[in-house]
């Protein structure tokens, strides 16, 4: 097999799906008037709100992430490791489950309102609308930003702290002279990433937006298709979304997001500024806010799951059919993503290591992230338009969801697998070449033992993401086709909260089990290889 073939095949699949969808969008709807539609005031209201909520979410997430990262960097406290682990998991916690948790804490009958009522202050409605969107976006993105900042601070050489102690720098000076410069290098990238995630956020805005006033482009596309069946408007919205996303992604890539993705716990160095009372108070406050915002909703999911309706909900046939369909989608999408990502990396590795063309290899790997520019809903819209004349789109629901989910997981597979695969080549490529170990032999004897762990992790992340995703399935879902996240969304939409609680708990448990089974099963239990 020629070295370029694997990536060529993988990219053909990606390009055919993305290109086909975009082409269909471009040619969509007879008499479609893009410029005319642009004059629509509704469109600009939606764009304005999309930008507004993304900007506010980014500012809040990053502003909170700075003190949290600082507190995590200089304090040891019981539960610190757990909190870090939680931070790195915020990526794979199903969005809709977290939203349920947030509703259980902040909703009209939630914990906060219960507390207010107990204190005789009456109940407050603040969850639905901009406030709720911001709460949820901070829940998801503050941990991401905090982890990036924490990594930057922990990358400061330990000698720096020794020198700082020697010269008696105060806490404020340490921040100004050491921590802030370290954070500042990664801050634009982190902020760009968070902005991008909030800009294209779907499930949060759909469930917590609470009305036409708080609608983003992504949700507006969905509504135009699903409820109004206004193809022209959907296409206009999708194209506007695509244009804006391209601009944002280009900007984010310029800002260079740090590529470290280690799911490990950082070290702590002896620092001279752990004694001050004000410092302790500030750090404690930051951590308390974190617990309130990030930990409480997750606790609420666990607590609410045990309720009297559990037995009844858990015996429904629809629930188990959705569970089965969710698992099929998750496993298929993850395997497809692994296949595509592996193929791209096999080729990019040869470019990098044998042909000394690192630039080309980097661009090839980046092409796997194409889905970031073409948000899943734009893609789904395109596929919807493309396939509508030739097939019953709702009958094709499952394969389409699998395809889109696989493309969404592809950037993660490339990120998690890329580093280990390049490292493996650095160590063994010449040896394999010199001994003539190639193809199946190389895969079986050399690559698999060395890469099974990152492969397990990549597959586990991809499957868990897909299992918990409430995205394009909302568009294709029907009487016969539903996933657990969709059932949960429907239950919440109908304010059947105790039913929602059971589904949320089941979905979380399933995600956890799936993650551990794949990671442990493929990655192998910790074998004592290097004795």
């Amino acid at each position: 097999m020629p070295w370029w073939l694997p990536a060529a095949l993988a990219l053909t699949v990606v390009a055919a799906v993305v290109g086909g969808a975009l082409l269909a969008l471009g040619l969509a709807a007879p008499g479609f008037d893009f410029v005319g539609n642009l004059a629509d005031a509704y469109l600009w209201r939606v764009v304005w709100f999309t930008v507004l909520q993304a900007t506010l979410s980014t500012l809040l997430s990053v502003a909170l992430a700075v003190p949290v990262a600082r507190a995590m960097a200089r304090r040891r406290f019981p539960g610190r490791g757990l909190l870090l682990r939680l931070f790195s998991l915020s990526l794979v916690i199903p969005t809709i489950v977290a939203i349920f948790g947030i509703a259980a804490v902040h909703g009209r009958t939630g914990w906060v309102n219960d507390a207010l009522a107990f204190l005789g202050l009456g109940r407050a409605d603040y969850l639905y609308g901009l406030t709720g969107i911001l709460i949820a976006h901070v829940f998801f993105n503050m941990p991401i930003a905090a982890r990036i900042l924490l990594q930057a601070v922990e990358a400061v050489p330990p000698e720096t702290w020794r020198v700082a102690s020697q010269f008696g720098l105060k806490s404020r000076d340490l921040f100004r002279l050491i921590e802030w410069p370290a954070m500042r290098t990664v801050l634009p990238g982190a902020a760009g990433l968070v902005f991008m995630l909030c800009f294209t956020s779907f499930a949060v805005v759909l469930t917590l937006g609470g009305g036409p006033k708080a609608t983003t482009l992504e949700v507006a596309v969905y509504q135009a298709l699903r409820f109004d069946f206004d193809l022209g408007r959907a296409v206009t919205l999708a194209l506007v979304q695509l244009l804006l996303c391209s601009v944002i992604v280009t900007a984010v890539l310029r800002l260079a997001v740090p590529s470290t993705t280690a799911l490990t716990e950082g070290r702590i160095y002896e620092r001279p500024d752990t004694g001050g009372r004000i410092g302790i108070a500030v750090d404690a406050l930051a951590l308390l806010v974190t617990i309130g915002l990030v930990v409480l909703p997750l606790a609420a999911v666990a607590v609410a799951g045990f309720n009297p309706t559990a037995a009844e909900v858990l015996t429904r046939a629809t629930l188990w059919r959705a569970t089965g369909q969710s698992l099929v989608i998750a496993l298929s999408a993850a395997s497809l993503a692994l296949l595509l990502g592996g193929a791209i990396l096999v080729t990019s590795r040869i470019l990098r290591h044998r042909l000394a063309r690192a630039g080309a290899a980097g661009r090839l790997e980046l092409s796997a992230s194409l889905i970031l520019v073409v948000p899943p809903f734009v893609l789904a819209t395109g596929l919807f338009v493309l396939l509508r004349p030739v097939a019953d789109v709702f009958a094709l629901g499952m394969p389409l969801v699998i395809l889109v989910n696989a493309l969404m997981a592809l950037p993660f597979v490339v990120r998690f697998l890329g580093g280990p695969m390049m490292e493996e080549a650095q160590r063994h490529d010449r040896l394999c070449q010199s001994l003539g170990i190639a193809g199946w032999n190389r895969l079986r004897l050399i690559e698999w033992p060395g890469l099974r762990r990152p492969v397990g992790l990549a597959l586990a992340v991809a499957a868990t993401l897909s299992l918990g995703d409430l995205g394009v399935v909302a568009l294709f879902g029907s009487q016969d086709f539903a996933t657990l996240p969709l059932l949960l969304y429907r239950a919440m939409g109908g304010f059947r909260m105790s039913e929602a609680a059971v589904i949320a708990a089941l979905l979380s448990l399933l995600c956890l089990v799936l993650f551990l089974v794949i990671e442990g099963g493929l990655g192998g239990l910790r074998r004592r290889d290097n004795v």
């Binding site: 063994h428 040896l431 070449q433 003539g436 004897l445 290889d529």
Partner: protein, 240 residues
């Protein structure tokens, strides 16, 4: 061009970043050549070109009179030993050596016997089931040597193979290499930055500087002549 020559490198050119390299070299069967030179001079590149890991811009490599320039590394009558990463950490000593006989590791009884024999020859009898992490640095290089032996290729290329070892161990390994070379009539090219290595085992030495072989000849004569200036600078001031 005598048919006794095992290795001929003819006008081999290569470009690495800003450095333009040109190599010409002839080595007779059963000879041992040391390639000396400062870091970044192109010593390892020369070895990579002979082994086939790098593709030259022009020129030819002939091994035993046959043009191998277009062949893949595994198809050349050559075996390589690197400074590190010679072994697969997850495979046993036996498996690591066995890969030299069959890249799919499906060995018959005769092949397993050959593996055990060569392991005994390099002094590793009874360590067949160990993994590389359970061996010392010297033992690991012995495993790699055993694998070179089972591959039974006439030309052995070594890239700083013992530089990471303690001085005594290094001399021990060099002596083992010299014995094996004589026993099997191997032709050896060894890259090193240490003139002592050359004195210990190599009859011939080539001095590489700025991508060219600027001096070559019998080792003792070359090191005594201290010419040209680049070689003098490389060797440092003469011992008093």
């Amino acid at each position: 061009m005598s048919d006794r020559s095992m290795l001929q490198v003819e006008g081999l050119t290569f470009r690495y970043e800003d450095m333009q390299m040109v190599f010409d070299l002839t080595l007779a069967r059963g000879q041992c050549l040391a390639v000396l030179g400062p870091s970044g001079a192109g010593k390892s590149t020369l070895l990579s070109l002979i082994a086939g890991f790098e593709k030259p811009l022009s020129g030819r490599v002939l091994v035993a009179g046959e043009d191998v320039t277009q062949r893949k590394p595994a198809d050349r009558p050559v075996t390589s030993l690197f400074q590190e990463h010679n072994l697969f950490a997850h495979l046993t000593v036996e498996q690591n050596v066995g890969l030299g006989l069959d890249p799919g590791l499906r060995l018959d009884a005769a092949q397993r016997h050959a593996v055990a024999g060569e392991l005994a020859r390099v002094g590793l009898e009874g360590l067949e089931k160990r993994r590389p992490a359970q061996l010392s640095g010297g033992q690991r290089q012995r495993v790699a040597l055993a694998r070179s032996l089972v591959r039974d290729k006439p030309l052995l290329l070594l890239d700083e193979p013992f530089s990471a070892l303690d001085p005594g161990l290094r001399l021990e390994m060099l002596d083992l290499l010299r014995q094996l070379q004589a026993e099997r009539n191997l032709t050896v090219v060894m890259v090193s930055h240490n003139p002592q290595d050359a004195r210990r085992i190599a009859g011939e030495t080539a001095f590489v500087c700025d991508g060219r072989i600027v001096a070559a000849g019998p080792t003792e004569a070359l090191l005594a002549a201290r010419e040209p200036a680049a070689l003098r600078a490389f060797l440092g001031p003469e011992a008093g």
